[in-house]
């Protein structure tokens, strides 16, 4: 402090800071013209500039500021309301004081500033015009400043109080249970209780009926100080109670965090400011120094730290509430963000692999820390990327309308659960499959009005699109009340094509799944609308590509329900890297039931194509032969047991490596028809690896067994 320049330099610096504060108070008053704290603050800033300026014979500055201050005295005393005009004028005055201040430095007083001073002064004097008249009323309006302050705390807005509560040592005897008081306080608002045990004596000296505890309680409430005091009404005589407002409702106050640790301790009278100053001058953490020097106990430091955090959090929340508005962001930007975060995750997975290989302790620890952070960023960006399915659903209104007209059908579209949120990428990937399904429903499902009447149905068919959450998935259903699918005909077709045999071991669901087989069609007569059913294999493929599955339920003349189950997000998948031959494959962790050494598993079934998995007979697939991989087998092949909707299979791979988190990329059109692979990832070394299509592999393996 003493190394500052002359007192005049100090004054200029101080005045500039005060002008900043003045501006902020004025801005706040623009929003809330009755904000007492801002009125007080504006007045005090002007008052200090005037008062201190006076000491340096800065007449121009003092003279002008005096008039502005006088107006704010009236405002503070409730004699003059804050108007838009007054704020405009005051902001001009603020700027003018700033130029006057600059003149004290340059020494150049020019006429222009003088004129401006006069002009503005006149304008302010207009606000003082009826000063004389209002004097008579002053008697009735006089408040002493203490009560004025008090009523402020009673008024709107939240305050945070620091309550230091030391119950009388015999309070247990008098029946005043401090815990009841604490509970009662908790009902007023959010609360942080910090108990002090320092007064508890050695065990042998303890008197069981004595209360040795004291508390510092931080309470944030919109109730006034009186309401807080009322809680203590029965212990007032005996207990020591100190209540301070430590955080006001003024959001501008909250901008710069909270008091320093030392200040809190001084406020509470737990440390002598001189000791604090001594401690501050040393370079270490203030808390440590204070404890080391024995000025305060560790308990006191911790308590003060808690207060610091508490107030910070409260202010943080308050700001969040106040600024919780929405902003518009271009979808492309969000896409880019999610993509970048995805790359980030992928890259980190690479780093983690390197860290693991290098076996460097520090490197690994750093990589782990980074992972936590990345996970948070990832979750947040995924959250940002969620959109309601309404966007998807409502896009089909037009389609349904046009299609039913083309086909001379009457169809009513109903949307349900439109608020359900999904990753925007998922929604995009669903657009075409849903379009196909809806077309099929209207074309093949819903009957003509005449036929419907004959069946005793309403001539208008209903097509329902609904969405709902189910665990970590979203289920989207397309429900029609049409003719339903002819399971028997699909079976015949399947037999004709040699896809199934004539035995009756196929469930209805098995048969219905046939319509998703490539090139499978039940409609001999292709229509211009849905083509020849070629679409359904593409539909399934697209849905599986985003990690989803599809189910059909149908009943003759009642209708058909197609349920699509998809993960909430497809941005990033947690997987297990496995090796088959020279290639690495990622297996989605959410499908993995267990990983075992193949040697430890008992094989059985016809030709040893089954395994005994915990008493359950499960088919397994040797991915080496399935993928036609050449070369030597691993000496210790691994078995990964995966399950889709309770249907388990074992997958034999050469080796299991690490868990790996990655963005899944589409393989594109060229590889659209590949079996058993659903996408690609990019490894840490930049090489692509493939993602196993578990859904498909489960189906293939189980179908194989049936044959």
């Amino acid at each position: 402090m003493n190394e500052l320049g002359s007192p005049l330099d100090t004054f200029r610096e101080e005045a500039r800071e005060l002008l900043e504060q003045l501006e902020q108070h004025l801005m706040q008053l623009e929003e809330d013209p009755t904000d007492h704290d801002s009125i007080d603050g504006a007045f005090r800033a002007l008052h200090t500039i005037k008062g201190s300026g006076n000491m340096f014979d800065l007449d121009d500055l003092v003279g002008f500021t005096h008039i502005v201050e006088a107006v704010f005295v009236r405002v503070r005393d409730g004699k003059l309301p804050v108007s838009k005009d007054l704020i405009d004028l005051s902001l001009q005055a603020r700027d003018h004081i700033s130029s006057l201040l600059n003149e004290t430095e340059t020494g150049a007083a020019d006429n222009e500033t003088d004129e401006r001073s006069q002009l503005l002064s006149k304008a302010f004097e207009a606000y003082l015009g009826d000063e004389a008249q209002s004097v008579s009323g002053e008697v009735f309006e006089t408040h002493d400043s203490a009560t004025a302050n008090h009523s402020q705390h009673e008024s709107e807005g939240e305050f945070t109080y620091r309550i230091e509560f030391t119950p009388a040592s015999d309070s247990f005897l008098t029946g005043a249970n401090p815990l009841l008081i604490l509970n009662e306080l908790a009902e007023l608002g959010s609360i942080l209780k910090i108990g002090y045990c320092e007064a508890i004596p050695d065990l042998k000296e303890i008197e069981p009926e004595h209360c040795y505890l004291r508390w510092v309680i931080l309470l944030t409430t919109d109730q006034g100080e009186n309401a807080v005091r009322d809680v203590f009404i029965f212990v007032e005589g005996s207990a020591e109670i100190k209540i301070d407002v430590i955080a006001e409702a003024d959001p501008l106050m909250g901008e710069s965090g909270y008091k320093r640790l030392g200040e809190i301790l001084v406020d509470r009278g737990e440390i002598d400011p001189k000791d604090l100053e001594a401690a501050v001058s040393s370079k270490s953490y203030i808390g440590e120094v204070l404890v080391k020097k024995g000025f305060v106990s560790e308990e006191q430091i911790n308590s003060a730290l808690q207060e610091q955090n508490y107030v910070r959090d409260i202010r943080e929340n308050r700001r969040t509430v106040e600024t919780s508005t929405t902003i518009k962001v271009k979808v492309e930007k969000l896409d880019e963000l999610v993509n970048l975060v995805g790359e980030f995750v992928t890259m980190h997975a690479g780093i983690a692999m390197v860290a693991e290989r290098k076996n460097d302790q520090d490197f690994r620890a750093a990589a782990e820390q980074m992972e936590g952070l990345i996970r948070q960023v990832r979750d947040l960006s995924i959250e940002l990327h969620m959109v309601p399915v309404e966007i998807l659903f409502s896009g089909y209104r037009r389609l349904v309308r046009d299609l039913s007209e083309d086909l001379s059908k009457q169809v009513q579209l109903k949307l349900e659960g439109t608020e359900t949120e999904l990753d925007k990428n998922v929604i995009d990937s669903l657009k075409d499959p849903l379009l196909h399904i809806i077309r099929n429903s209207i074309d093949h499902g819903i009957e003509s009005p005449e036929l419907r009447k004959k069946k005793g149905k309403s001539p208008t068919g209903t097509l329902r699109l609904s969405a709902y959450y189910s665990g970590a998935s979203v289920v989207i259903q397309v429900v029609d009340d049409g003719a339903g699918m002819d399971v028997e005909r699909i079976r015949q077709k399947g037999i004709e094509r040699g896809v199934i045999d004539t035995s009756d071991r196929y469930s209805e669901q098995d048969i219905l799944q046939l319509i998703f087989a490539p090139g499978f069609s039940t409609n001999e007569q292709a229509t211009s609308v849905s083509g020849r059913g070629v679409g359904m294999d593409v539909v399934r493929r697209n849905i599986e590509a985003i990690g989803g599955s599809i189910r059909i339920e149908t009943a003759k003349d009642v209708g058909t329900t197609l349920s699509i189950r998809i993960p909430l997000t497809l941005a990033i998948v947690d997987g297990l890297l496995s090796r088959i031959g020279d290639s690495l494959y990622l297996i989605n962790l959410s499908y993995i039931v267990e990983c075992l050494d193949l040697q430890d598993v008992r094989k059985g079934g016809n030709g040893g194509d089954m395994i005994d998995f915990r008493g359950e007979i499960v088919p397994f697939l040797d991915l080496r032969s399935y993928f036609g991989v050449e070369g030597d087998r691993s000496e210790h092949p691994q078995l990964v047991v995966v399950a889709i909707e309770e249907k388990k299979i074992g997958l034999v791979v050469d080796d299991l490596l690490d868990k790996y988190q990655s963005v899944i990329k589409s393989l594109g059109k060229v590889y659209e028809q590949v079996e058993g692979i659903s996408g690609a990832i990019i490894l840490g070394d930049g090489k692509p690896a493939l993602m196993l299509d578990i859904d498909r592999l489960v189906k293939v393996t189980r179908d194989e067994v049936k044959k």
């Binding site: 007192p7 100090t10 400043s145 400011p273």
Partner: protein, 124 residues
């Protein structure tokens, strides 16, 4: 040992100015930024307190009340600094327990004389 004076003022330039005058006259100066700080820095060896009226957190009047009703050096002479526009506060200050007042702006001599007066009431 030099007499100790406590200055309570939220204006840093005021504190610096007063400090210069007082240090120059051989006093030892303790500074406080508002009434609360003033109460905290109050000690038995302080000869005179000079407090501003208008301060955040705890104003001059509240500060005087706090000292007078406290335990540390409760009868120390207290000078309240007011501006002309705060004439009415002088009475309030007196009621609260101020020993005297001094009006801003003041010059060096006025300040030193007034301090001398309140510090040594028997000198007159």
């Amino acid at each position: 040992m030099a007499d100790k004076i406590l200055i309570v003022d939220d204006s840093v330039s005021m504190r610096q100015m007063t400090n210069m005058i007082l240090s120059g006259a051989g006093y030892e100066v303790v500074q406080a930024v508002d009434g609360k700080d003033g109460v905290a820095k109050m000690s038995a060896d302080i000869k005179v307190v000079i407090t501003d009226y208008n301060m955040p957190n705890m104003n001059g009047i509240e500060f005087i009340r706090a000292v007078r009703s406290g335990t540390v050096n409760k009868s120390v002479p207290i000078l309240m600094v007011t501006t002309e526009s705060e004439d009415s506060k002088k009475q309030e200050g007196k009621n609260a327990g101020a020993t005297g007042w001094i009006t801003k702006p003041f010059d060096k001599d006025t300040l030193l004389q007034t301090i001398h007066k309140v510090a040594n009431p028997l000198a007159f």
